[in-house]
């Protein structure tokens, strides 16, 4: 679909297990997202897709496994303390000699992973423009004093220009001064993506970007995702339920069921895969 694809992994999950108490939400998940790809993560409800996102973005600390971003480990963990006894996954002692690495979500965003949320989380008292503007805050060079005394005018102007520019690219320039939450649903989704782009990511995680959209909006969104991916030289990793969208724009697909990866491949392969059909597409008629 695009020309910048390579086989250089941007994001790599290695044997990630996430266990909440006795519940193993993700069991030994390994996957790779390569430079320039659009990779989809699909699976029935409760399969652990969003949990996987949360492990990558630092919201959760996985119980076991490694997450690498551009070849650098950003999360390393192994079962510790009472989790050693409780551990229900496999490969529990694979990393026991590695020093755990944990980062807070803001640190991960600094490194270049931006995300959107399954249930839209815009800053509700702010305008569309301000929402995007907040996304530029993390690359600031000013401290609170230089910002208060307006010694950062140049940077401030650059931030504003960048935010406005992003709004133009996502086609929301005309509603820049509207309250974010007063926008129609589809525009809110786009705004969330614009806000994520404002953090200068190299990897964009989209958590069900088409949730609640009608078929036409979904088609437009697909084009939009491919468009911004090329424009900003991004790699996209997304969770999605709309199969049309997934099959249209993804380069590769991972299928998750009950926390385990059950299949991996191109859209064509996944569509034919009997395991996937059994677990996901075929069994319950809708």
């Amino acid at each position: 679909m695009s020309e910048v694809k390579t086989n250089v992994p941007v994001l790599r999950l290695e044997n990630i297990t996430m266990q909440f108490g006795g519940v193993v939400a993700i069991n030994n998940l390994s996957l790779e997202v390569n430079q320039g790809e659009i990779v989809a993560l699909i699976g029935p409800n409760g399969a652990g897709k969003t949990t996987a996102f949360n492990c990558v973005t630092g919201v959760y600390e996985p119980t076991n496994g490694i997450v690498e971003f551009h070849g650098k480990p950003i999360v390393v963990n192994h079962p510790q303390g009472k989790m050693i006894k409780q551990y229900g996954g496999i490969n529990g002692d694979l990393y026991k000699d590695r020093k755990p690495v944990v980062h807070t979500p803001d640190k991960i965003t600094h490194m270049g992973i931006a995300r959107t949320f399954q249930n839209i989380r815009l800053f509700k008292s702010q305008t569309a423009f301000e929402n995007v503007l907040i996304g530029t805050h993390l690359r600031r060079t000013s401290n609170f004093l230089t910002a208060t005394f307006r010694l950062n005018m140049k940077e401030e102007k650059a931030m504003r220009d960048k935010a406005m520019n992003l709004l133009e690219i996502v086609g929301l320039a005309d509603v820049a001064n509207e309250l974010a939450t007063s926008l129609p649903y589809g525009k809110q989704r786009r705004l969330e993506i614009a806000r994520a782009l404002a953090t200068d990511p190299t990897l964009l995680l989209l958590d069900e970007p088409a949730a609640g959209m009608n078929p036409q909006e979904t088609d437009e969104l697909g084009e939009f995702i491919v468009d911004i991916k090329n424009k900003f030289n991004l790699t996209v990793f997304m969770i999605e339920h709309h199969m049309n969208l997934v099959m249209d724009i993804s380069d590769r697909i991972y299928v998750l069921d009950f926390g385990k990866q059950i299949a991996e491949g191109t859209p064509e392969e996944i569509q034919k895969n009997p395991v996937v059909i059994a677990a996901y597409l075929g069994v319950d008629e809708e």
Binding site: T57, V59, T104, P105, D106, K107, T109, H110, A114, R115, F117, R121, L122, F123, K124, S125, Q126, T127, E130, L133, I134, G135, T136, H137, L138, R140, S142, F144, A147, T148, F149, R150, N152, E156, M159, N177, L179, R195, A198, T199
Partner: protein, 356 residues
């Protein structure tokens, strides 16, 4: 850009007019008049309310420690400015006290803010990991502890224990006849700085944290650092506000910084509107005018002819206040201004606070 400049000029002219009016009132009505008292105390409370609003309204941290930080500021100011000649008399039970130097009023105000900010930085570290009600309880507890510690006999040579601190420079004797102008200038500069901060990129980050912590963190905003920053800055200005309150009162005792003082300020913030600086300012003048002046009659037993008006007795004012709070919280939850500012009312963005 041009439109923004125009609005800025109008605002500045408006503020200048307010200052002139304050001056004029003091010169015609005299420093001892009720209206001047209201202007002085109202301005001081305005600063404290805005500092609390920075934390509660703009950053979404429900903190009730304001009285504690005011107390720290007030004591820092008083301890550092009592004239050398009078220290022996003030610290008569503690052999003249430990501090044996005096600094100027303005440096002392700054130190008051800085000491309060240092306390905030220290307390913020454990406390800011709490959320919502827990944070409120922890900060409230801190304020009470500070009040107790200040009255502790062992550090009496510093704080004069539970005795009064007095004879430090007050509003009345540093700029005689222009007390309102002095208060307005100090408060104006402080509120101006807070406004600049709120409208900077850091202020936007604060509002983002208030609106949605999870999303703010996903946008790369370090929650703890920004909360700590808001907490420390808010306390800095609360410290200065406390020092101004000490200057207004003329004498200082830890016992007057009770938690009820925090609630008064919280009431002002809520009435003015959480997230509105101009709302807090208006509400504080309104509140002080009511409590010091207009509603005083509620506390006085009144006899009209042969008829003794029922209910009017000392303490009834507080009953009325409580009812006002309930009415505000039940029916005017957004306060006077909501989260808008006075100067935003005419503009398009001004519509953002209103519900449709």
């Amino acid at each position: 850009m041009k439109k923004g400049n125009k609005r800025l000029i109008i605002s500045l002219v408006f503020v200048a007019l307010l200052y002139a009016a304050g001056c004029l009132i003091e010169h015609t009505a005299g420093t001892k008049s009720m209206v001047v008292t209201v202007l002085q105390k109202g301005a001081v409370y305005a600063l404290i309310a805005v500092s609390m609003n920075l934390l509660n309204g703009f950053t979404g941290l429900f903190s009730l420690g304001q009285a504690g930080f005011m107390l720290v500021g007030a004591y820092s100011y008083a301890i550092l400015t009592i004239p050398m000649a009078k220290r022996a008399a003030v610290y008569q039970y503690y052999n003249g006290g430990w501090v044996q130097f005096t600094i100027g009023v303005i440096p002392a105000l700054l130190v008051a803010g800085i000491v309060a900010a240092l306390f905030a930085a220290l307390i913020g570290m454990p406390v800011l990991r709490l959320k919502g009600d827990y944070l409120a309880i922890a900060t409230l507890g801190f304020a009470e502890i500070i009040r107790a510690i200040v009255q502790w006999d062992t550090i009496g040579p510093l704080t004069n224990g539970s005795n009064l601190l007095k004879t430090y420079p007050t509003l009345k004797n540093i700029m005689p006849g222009n007390t309102v102008l002095f208060t307005f200038i100090v408060v104006g500069v402080c509120i101006g700085l807070i406004l600049l901060l709120i409208n900077s990129t850091y202020g936007r980050a604060f509002k983002a944290i208030r609106d949605d912590e999870v999303a703010a963190e996903a946008m790369g905003i370090n929650l703890f650092r920004h909360k700590q920053m808001a907490f420390v800055i808010s306390s800095f200005f609360a410290g200065i506000g406390g020092a101004l309150l000490a200057m207004y009162q003329g004498s200082l005792q830890a016992n007057s910084f009770k938690s009820s003082m925090t609630y008064e300020i919280l009431l002002i913030v809520v009435i003015g509107g959480m997230g509105s600086v101009s709302g807090s300012i208006m509400a504080s003048f309104l509140f002080i005018a009511c409590s010091e002046w207009w509603l005083r009659f509620l506390d006085a037993e009144t006899v009209l002819g042969n008829f003794k008006v029922p209910l009017l007795a000392p303490g009834f004012r507080m009953v009325v206040f409580s009812v006002v709070i309930m009415v505000v919280v039940l029916f005017f939850r957004k306060g006077i201004m909501g989260d808008r500012e006075l100067w935003e009312l005419g503009s398009r963005r001004g519509a953002k606070g209103g519900r449709k």
